[in-house]
């Protein structure tokens, strides 16, 4: 296969990626878009084999691909929906790692004849790839709740971070000037460290934003490798991801009502917060399934606010049962969907869609907020941060500024949760102590089942 052919097919793959992103940004075409992307990736991979055939180390290469597939596919197939975001984070991390490794190999292979540009781009890839790798791992640990989801901030932390960044830049310069393996490895180590420090202070709602950002980073490293390896395809694909990732990061930040700047430089500005520890001893009003049933029975309008807990309890079908029952009793029922309820945007839509909840019962935040005034009961099922008044009242708390569902405007609020433990952002929710609030402790599914039968009984 001649070079032109190779390049043209590469370009075709690039076009596939454009079409993929285009498709992915419209609900109707999203799935097809993803498949087109996969097609492009396949073409790109096959054509390398064809063009460079016969490849040296062919066995190793094929073997490695096999291993990668054997790890990646099952992971992607088995993962629970609730854990997809952290899996994406993980995938993004390994992508960054791959880019970094490729760059390191290029670096080792660099002749002294290498142009400065090439060296710079190589070093750039190593640094950003490593940051993306370690940073993504941390976000994974946070989302997987293998470590606290709250901002990890230690006194003077920001100086440590600044220092690390400075030394990364310094060593980069050194590595560019004086080609050498040791400095490169030091640089890689420093970059990994910086990635960790960069993400640690990020907490709660900002995590998905940071994933998206690191995703864009990885894209740029791919583009840079494309320059070094003289592959237009990698340049196009990488740049596409870098650009769209950046926009997407901004869009996400807006959707969650976060300042992107705050997120990015949170690392440098974050001060240790005294987010009150969960589970203090303060009186709360907890009720029985029957109490809840009675409240619901005499309500004219009820708004159901689902959250992450609903997904954990897999209670989507039960909640629908309850809703239908209430509707049959002539109660006006709506679901209040917060854009970031759950662990991924659209999480609740997806979850309730599984239970075939009629779409017109789902009300977005802006629609539903004005209606709480006329709502008799807001029943909050496994949600917490998205209804936490602290977002409006407590400057400096991790979710401050995030728009919330203002359930407190309704006559009664019912919380279904298992304990007094806080939610994702790890902060106390004053609303739980509000006199108009009633708590029904227990797993959402169990509680809902009880409520349903109690309501039937009435």
């Amino acid at each position: 296969m001649n070079r032109t052919m190779y390049d043209l097919i590469g370009l075709a793959a690039g076009v596939c990626f454009i079409l993929a992103l285009k498709g992915l940004s419209h609900p109707k075409t999203a799935r097809r878009g993803n498949l087109i992307g996969a097609l492009g990736a396949t073409i790109a991979t096959l054509v390398v084999f064809a063009y460079n055939a016969p490849l040296n180390n062919l066995g190793w290469i094929v073997g490695a691909i096999a291993v990668g597939s054997l790890i990646g596919v099952p992971a992607a197939r088995r993962v629970q929906m609730t854990q997809m975001p952290q899996l994406v984070a993980l995938f993004n991390g390994v992508g960054g790692g791959a880019a970094a490794l490729v760059a390191i190999v290029e670096y080792l292979a660099l002749g002294s004849d290498a142009s400065t540009a090439v060296v710079i781009f190589t070093v750039f890839t190593v640094v950003v790839g490593c940051v993306s790798f370690s940073g993504s791992i941390i976000t994974f640990l946070k989302l997987q709740e293998l470590m606290t989801t709250r901002p990890v901030v230690f006194p003077g932390g920001r100086f440590v971070i600044a220092a690390t960044l400075a030394s990364v830049l310094g060593v980069s310069g050194w590595v560019v000037v004086a080609l050498g393996t040791t400095p490169l490895l030091i640089l890689a180590a420093l970059s990994l460290l910086f990635g960790v420090l960069f993400v640690l202070p990020v907490g709660g709602a900002d995590v998905p934003i940071v994933i998206s950002l690191l995703n864009a980073f990885t894209g740029l490293t791919v583009a840079a490798s494309g320059y070094v390896l003289d592959s237009t395809l990698l340049i196009i694909a990488g740049t596409l991801v870098g650009a769209s990732g950046t926009i997407l990061t901004r869009l996400m930040a807006d959707a969650m009502g976060r300042s992107l700047f705050g997120t990015l430089f949170g690392a440098f500005t974050a001060k240790p917060q005294d987010a009150s520890a969960a589970g203090e001893e303060r009186p709360v009003r907890s009720g029985s399934p029957d109490d809840v049933a009675i409240l619901l029975n005499y309500a004219r309008r009820v708004v159901i606010v689902p959250g992450f807990g609903l997904a954990v309890a897999q209670a989507q079908h039960t909640v629908r049962e309850l809703a239908d029952l209430m509707i049959s009793k002539g109660i006006d029922v709506a679901y209040g969907i917060h854009p970031v309820a759950g662990r991924m945007p659209g999480h609740m839509n997806v979850l309730l869609a599984e239970a075939n909840v009629p779409y017109d019962q789902l009300a977005e935040m802006d629609e539903v907020n004005p209606t709480f005034g006329q709502t008799d009961v807001a029943i909050v099922i496994g949600a917490n941060d998205v209804v936490n008044p602290a977002a409006q009242t407590t400057p400096g708390c991790p979710i401050y500024g995030m728009p919330i569902l203002e359930v407190s405007n309704s006559a009664n609020v019912i919380f279904l949760k298992r304990s007094m433990r806080p939610g994702f952002a790890g902060i106390e929710n004053e609303l739980l102590y509000d006199p108009k609030t009633m708590l029904l402790f227990g797993d959402a599914k169990a509680s809902l089942t009880k409520v349903v039968s109690a309501l039937k009984a009435l």
Binding site: G37, A64, G95, A109, P208, L240, A243, S244
Partner: protein, 97 residues
Amino acid sequence: MDAMAIVSIFVLAVFVGFEVVSKVSSTLHTPLMSGANAIHGVILVGAIIVADHSETTLELGLSVAAIILATINMIGGFVVTDRMLEMFKGNKKGADK
């Protein structure tokens, strides 16, 4: 390919990237991120190229590692994105919104 061409391609690709996703609805943020994430798995191509050129065992070892990671990123990424989107089937109507 000369530097100028590369810069032009880069700039244009930036615009394409911006424009193409600028109107996405918040419901699709996660799948879109996941799809884009899968796309940068094409670094696999780069990994294969360096593996092809590897002389020393060190180089080969690193390349092989790179290939494994890139493959996970690419294939895993597309599969998980597809699964996410599969879940939307439920409410096409919703999706249209």
